[in-house]
Symmetry: C3
Subunit: 205 residues, 3 copies
C-alpha cells in the first residue's frame, strides 16, 4: 500500500483518469462514426481533436514524471501506463482516418462489435483509474479487460475469415483489413494498460 | 553465479522447462498440420489445447513471480522470458488457425521449411532451459537460435518473393501472407527468448 | 550531469556515433537506390553490407556493455539506444530488398519523400550522438525528430490513400505497401532513438 502522497503525486491519478475519460469519449465517437456515413468527415475531425487532447495529457504526465522526485509508483510503470493509454487513442483515431482515406462505405457488422468491445473497455478503464490511488477493487477490472480482449481476438479472427471468404474483392479486403487491424490493436493496447495496472497492484500490495 | 536457491525458486526452472517443452510438442503438431490436409481441423484443435496449456504455464510463472520475495534472476527477465515463450505459442497456434479460417489448401513448401526451423529452435530452447540453473553451456544455444532466426529471415523473404511473383492471385497472396507472417514472428519470438537468456547469463556471470 | 568518465566508457559515445553515421550513409544510398533503377541490384548489395556493418557496431556496443562495470547511462538505455539504431538500419535495408524481391519498377514519389525525411532524421541523429557526452543542446534534436516523425506519418497516410485509390491493382498495392511499411517503421524507429535520448537527458540532468 503506498503511504500518504504529496499533493504533487495526486496529479498522476487525475491525469490518468483524464486520459482514460478521453478514451470513453473517443470510442463513443468512433461508434457514431461507423454508423453514420454522412457525418464521417466531421466525426473523423472530432477524433483528430481528441487525439491531440490525448497527446497533451500524455505529455503532461511525462512532464510531471520528469519533475517529480517522488512518484506514487515506479517511474517505468507510470511511463508504460501513459504510453499504452496514448496508444489506444492513436489506434482509434487511425481506424477512422483509414476508413476516410481508403474511401470505405458500409463496413462489416463485426467492426461495430469490435467498437462495442472498445467502448466497454474504455468505460471500465476510466472507472478503474481513480482506484489506483487506493489500489483497491482492481482485480475485477483487469480480469474483465482480459476477457474483453479474448472476445475481441475471436471477433477479429471471425472477421478475417469473412474477409477472405470471397465475399470481397482483394483491394476491398486490403482496405477493410487496415481498419480491422487498428481496432484489434486498440483492444490489445487496453489489455496492456490492464497488465501494467495489475503489475502495479501486485508490487505495491 | 547465483548463490544457493531456496526450493521455491527452483520452480522457475521447472516452469520454464515445461513452457519450452510445450513448444516442442506444438511445433511438431504444426509440422503434422501442414502436411496432413485431412487432419487439419483435429490438429488445429490440438494446437488450441496446447495454447491453453501454455497460458496456464505462463500464469503459473507470473503467480510464482508475484509471490516470491527472492527470485533467481531479475523479475523483469523472468517476466520477459515467460512472455516471449508464450508469444511463440500464440504465433504457432495463430498460423494453424489462419490456415483453417482462410480456407487455404496446399501450402508453399517454404512454410514446411519455416516450421522445420521452428521445430529446431523449440528443441534447443527446451534443452537450454534446465541449464539456466547453472548458467553453464548456454552460449551455444543462443548462437544457434540467432543462426536459425537469420535463416528464417532469408526463407521468409524468399517466400515473399514467390508470393509476389505472379504465381498466386492477390487474395491468395493475402491469405498466404497471414500465415507466413505468423511463422516469421514465431521465429523472431524464439530469438527474443534467446536474447533474454543471454542477458541473464551475462549479468549473473 | 554524469561525473568524469573512464576512458572505457568514452567508447560508448564513439560507438553510438559510428552507428548513427552508418545510418546517414544508408539513407543516402537508399535515396540513390530509389531514383536509379539500373543500379538497384548494386545499391541493394551496398545496403546489405551497411546492414552487416551496423550489426557489428551493435554487437560491439553490447559487448562493451557486458564488460563494463560502470556505464555512462543506465544499461537499459544503452541497450535500447543501440537496438533502435539497429532497427532503423534493418528497416532501411529491408525496404530496398523488398523492392528488388517483389520486382517493383517505378515507385510513387511519396517514397522519395519518405526517404528524404529519413535522410534528415539520420543527419540530425548523427549530429546529436556526440552531444550525449555533455548532455547539452539535445532538446532541439528530439523535438525535430518528433516533428519529422509526424510529417512521415502524414505522408504515409497520404501514400496509403493513393495506394487504395484504384490507381494500382491489388497485387501492386500489396507490393508497394510492403516497402512503404518499412520506410514508415524506419521513421518510427528514429523517434524511438530520440525518446531514449530524451529520457537519458532528463534522468541525468
Amino acid at each position: 500500500m503506498p503511504f500518504s502522497l504529496t499533493p504533487k503525486d495526486q496529479s498522476f491519478y487525475r491525469l490518468f483518469s483524464a486520459s482514460a475519460q478521453n478514451l470513453v469519449t473517443a470510442t463513443d465517437v468512433l461508434d457514431e462514426f461507423l454508423r453514420e456515413h454522412t457525418r464521417r468527415t466531421e466525426l473523423a475531425d472530432r477524433l483528430r481533436d481528441l487525439e491531440h487532447a490525448g497527446d497533451q495529457s500524455t505529455h503532461a504526465i511525462f512532464r510531471q514524471l520528469n519533475s517529480s522526485f517522488v512518484t506514487p509508483f515506479d517511474r517505468e510503470d507510470i511511463y508504460s501506463l501513459a504510453s499504452h493509454l496514448d496508444d489506444v487513442m492513436d489506434f482509434v483515431e487511425a481506424a477512422a482516418d483509414l476508413v476516410v482515406l481508403t474511401g470505405l462505405g458500409t463496413l462489416p457488422a463485426e467492426m461495430n462489435q469490435q467498437t462495442a468491445l472498445l467502448q466497454r473497455a474504455a468505460h471500465i478503464t476510466a472507472e478503474a483509474m481513480p482506484r489506483l490511488q487506493t489500489l483497491k477493487d482492481l482485480p475485477d477490472y483487469w480480469i474483465e479487460v482480459n476477457r474483453i480482449e479474448n472476445e475481441a481476438d475471436k471477433l477479429y479472427r471471425r472477421l478475417l475469415s469473412r474477409l477472405y471468404s470471397g465475399e470481397f474483392e482483394a483491394l476491398e479486403v486490403l482496405r477493410l483489413k487496415e481498419v480491422a487491424d487498428q481496432l484489434e490493436e486498440a483492444a490489445d493496447a487496453f489489455e496492456k494498460v490492464a497488465n501494467v495496472v495489475e503489475s502495479i497492484a501486485v508490487k505495491e500490495s
